[in-house]
């Protein structure tokens, strides 16, 4: 029997759902080893859990379960227009893992997915095969940590290490590992590589403490970045999304100063800059689930199916950030999100 604990929500991954066909596979057994007390429930297909109707994303975030599955069909997707391509012509993304262990109030995942559980696709070799087929046609720029935070899950999955080893063998492949994690322990032995980009999403303390639940603090993230940059890595800094709040100017000004007091400018490969934006359908869902979220309740304006700040405010915030960032780095390495898709907009 399970013991009743003072905090009534079960621990993370107290239950692990495994597709029956994978039950005895090496990759699944490796993951299950990390959770010896978890209840393992076999299921025919991951969607039997992930796509159930009447799920509550936010409640499930309090006690998320793990689902281990095999991904079939399309594994690599063309990059979305709302995402920055950093001037790369052949921009793709992939989702080895659906959902994140963090719980940011503004995150689009709660609008996109009906479940707060984490689904891990264990057939990594199939993803690698599909990329190799693409690489036969052209170079590939691939974001591997969009719908999750792979570095935060590194201790359980070890996927970053596998992807980095794969990228090492394929010089025409560039991968971006986006994260809010401070978990750089596993990566300190890694040699710097031009085709592996670590990209940290950074926010001022106010935003991080109010809206980015369960994430490492700004300070912890900056320390992690410093550890990597001291080993010769060049990192991408993502100031995206920029979130409006009453004292945003003071917050972001102090924030940029703090960032560059930790990160040497020559270790900054490039910067991604973008104000908060989200699709209309996602925001509707997100607001329904988080009625008391200040960031979601803001009266955004809709343009072409995307909710964003009023144009004047957006321009003001972007100009402010550019002005402060260019005190430290050249404008040519700052890539801004723009409404028009597929425009390379560095230095705009």
């Amino acid at each position: 029997m399970n013991n009743l604990s003072n905090n009534l929500f079960s621990s993370h991954f107290s239950h692990i759902y495994v597709e029956t066909a994978l039950r005895n596979s090496a990759s699944v057994l490796r993951i299950l080893d990390k959770f010896p007390t978890a209840n393992v429930i076999e299921i025919p297909h991951y969607k039997d859990i992930f796509c159930r109707s009447q799920q509550n994303f936010c409640m499930q975030k309090k006690s998320p379960k793990l689902i281990l599955a095999k991904k079939e069909g399309t594994l690599i997707y063309p990059g979305a227009p709302v995402c920055q391509d950093f001037g790369n012509k052949h921009f793709y993304y992939t989702s080895n893992v659906m959902n994140c262990i963090y719980d940011c109030e503004y995150c689009y995942l709660q609008g996109m997915y009906s479940s707060g559980n984490v689904t891990v696709f264990v057939n990594l070799e199939d993803f690698f095969l599909e990329i190799e087929l693409l690489l036969q046609k052209h170079p590939v720029y691939l974001c591997i940590s969009y719908d999750t935070d792979l570095l935060a899950l590194e201790g359980i999955l070890g996927y970053c290490e596998k992807w980095i080893a794969f990228a090492k063998k394929h010089k025409d492949l560039t991968i971006e590992i986006r994260t809010k994690s401070a978990n750089t322990g596993a990566l300190t032995a890694l040699e710097p590589s031009d085709n592996v980009i670590f990209a940290w999403t950074l926010s001022p303390d106010f935003v991080s403490s109010h809206f980015e639940h369960k994430t490492p603090s700004l300070n912890q993230r900056l320390k992690s970045i410093k550890v990597l940059t001291e080993k010769g890595h060049r990192v991408r800094l993502c100031f995206d999304p920029i979130i409006y709040h009453d004292t945003w100017k003071e917050s972001y000004s102090a924030f940029i100063t703090a960032v560059f007091s930790h990160v040497p400018t020559d270790a900054v490969r490039d910067i991604s800059l973008g104000v908060f934006r989200v699709s209309k359908d996602y925001l509707k869902r997100m607001r329904k689930q988080r009625k008391d979220s200040l960031v979601l309740a803001y009266p955004y304006e809709m343009k072409a199916g995307v909710y964003q700040y009023k144009e004047q405010l957006e321009r003001e915030m972007t100009a402010f950030m550019l002005k402060h960032l260019t005190n430290h780095v050249p404008e040519s390495i700052i890539f801004q999100w723009k409404e028009c898709p597929n425009e390379s907009n560095a230095g705009n």
Partner: protein, 281 residues
């Protein structure tokens, strides 16, 4: 509110006595008992009866985010190492007739054994009648259909299926006294746990936002400014935002009503609305 579904009066009577539940006369087709904390209904056994009964009762209610739906009853068990009287939380429910499988959300720590349950249209008396390969341990006649009907009214984390082992597929051995005893022995453990869950959910769902739609001044202002449906929805969103920022929404609305009392046209209304918007942001 905790909604409890049972199949027989014998399953219900220990709870009716323990919580002093009164018969609710507004329900004429099924026996329903309740007080301010519980609504207990007896559906009669079988998948169709439980589906109809639960839908009949729940349709008249408006379950809230912190309410629970509990199917509490006896079951048969294929595993003779599980003692009679053991309470089990069902984490997988198979529907033998259709082969469909349902997975209740297991968000809360609990003191019960977790089991896989199979719902049959009638009593079964041997293992060979189990249709699923999924390591089914428990057998009943209601859970799968209750899961499907309760889903119309609750989210899956609010739905709990607790079964007490009454026999090892020997339904003929189950007497009224035995049923009552199985339920009585587990009342304290089950209901203490349910109370704790509700408290956890109340904390998790705590939301100090006043429903703007319930403020008469909101509708008055929308009418006064001659707002379209879209703009009225925008006004509601603005007021939610201002509440979260700690502003006194009622006061703001009253001030705005005063200032815009002479609004005569839609264009004037639109202009006032824009001004009000700037104030609130």
């Amino acid at each position: 509110m905790i909604y409890i579904s049972t199949a027989f009066y014998q399953e219900a009577s220990p709870m009716i006595q323990a919580f002093s539940l009164n018969k609710l006369s507004q329900f004429s087709k099924y026996q329903v008992f309740g007080n301010e904390h519980f609504t207990l209904f007896i559906t009669n056994p079988g998948p169709i009866a439980s589906c109809i009964g639960s839908t009949y009762v729940l349709s008249g209610q408006r379950p809230e985010a912190t309410d629970l739906f509990v199917n509490l009853g006896i079951c048969g068990c294929t595993d003779t190492t599980i003692p009679i009287g053991t309470p089990c939380l069902c984490t997988q429910i198979n529907e033998s007739l259709t082969g469909r499988v349902f997975y209740p959300d297991v968000l809360f720590s609990h003191p019960f054994l977790e089991c896989c349950l199979e719902t049959h249209p009638g009593n079964i008396s041997d293992n060979s009648q189990i249709t699923s390969n999924a390591g089914t341990t428990l057998v009943d006649c209601e859970a799968a259909s209750l899961y499907q009907s309760a889903q119309l009214f609750f989210q899956i984390h609010q739905m709990l299926f607790i079964k007490i082992v009454s026999d090892y597929l020997e339904p003929q051995s189950v007497t009224d006294i035995h049923v009552r005893s199985c339920i009585e022995c587990n009342l304290t453990a089950v209901f203490q746990w349910l109370e704790n869950i509700q408290q956890s959910m109340q904390t998790a769902c705590a939301n100090s936002l006043l429903d703007v739609e319930s403020i008469p001044e909101f509708h008055l202002l929308a009418s006064q400014l001659k707002l379209s449906a879209t703009m009225k929805a925008q006004l509601k969103q603005l007021l939610n935002y201002s509440q979260l920022k700690g502003k006194d929404t009622g006061q703001l609305l009253s001030l705005c009503l005063e200032k815009t009392a002479q609004c005569n046209t839609k264009l004037e209304g639109k202009n006032y609305f824009e001004q009000f918007k700037q104030q609130l942001i």
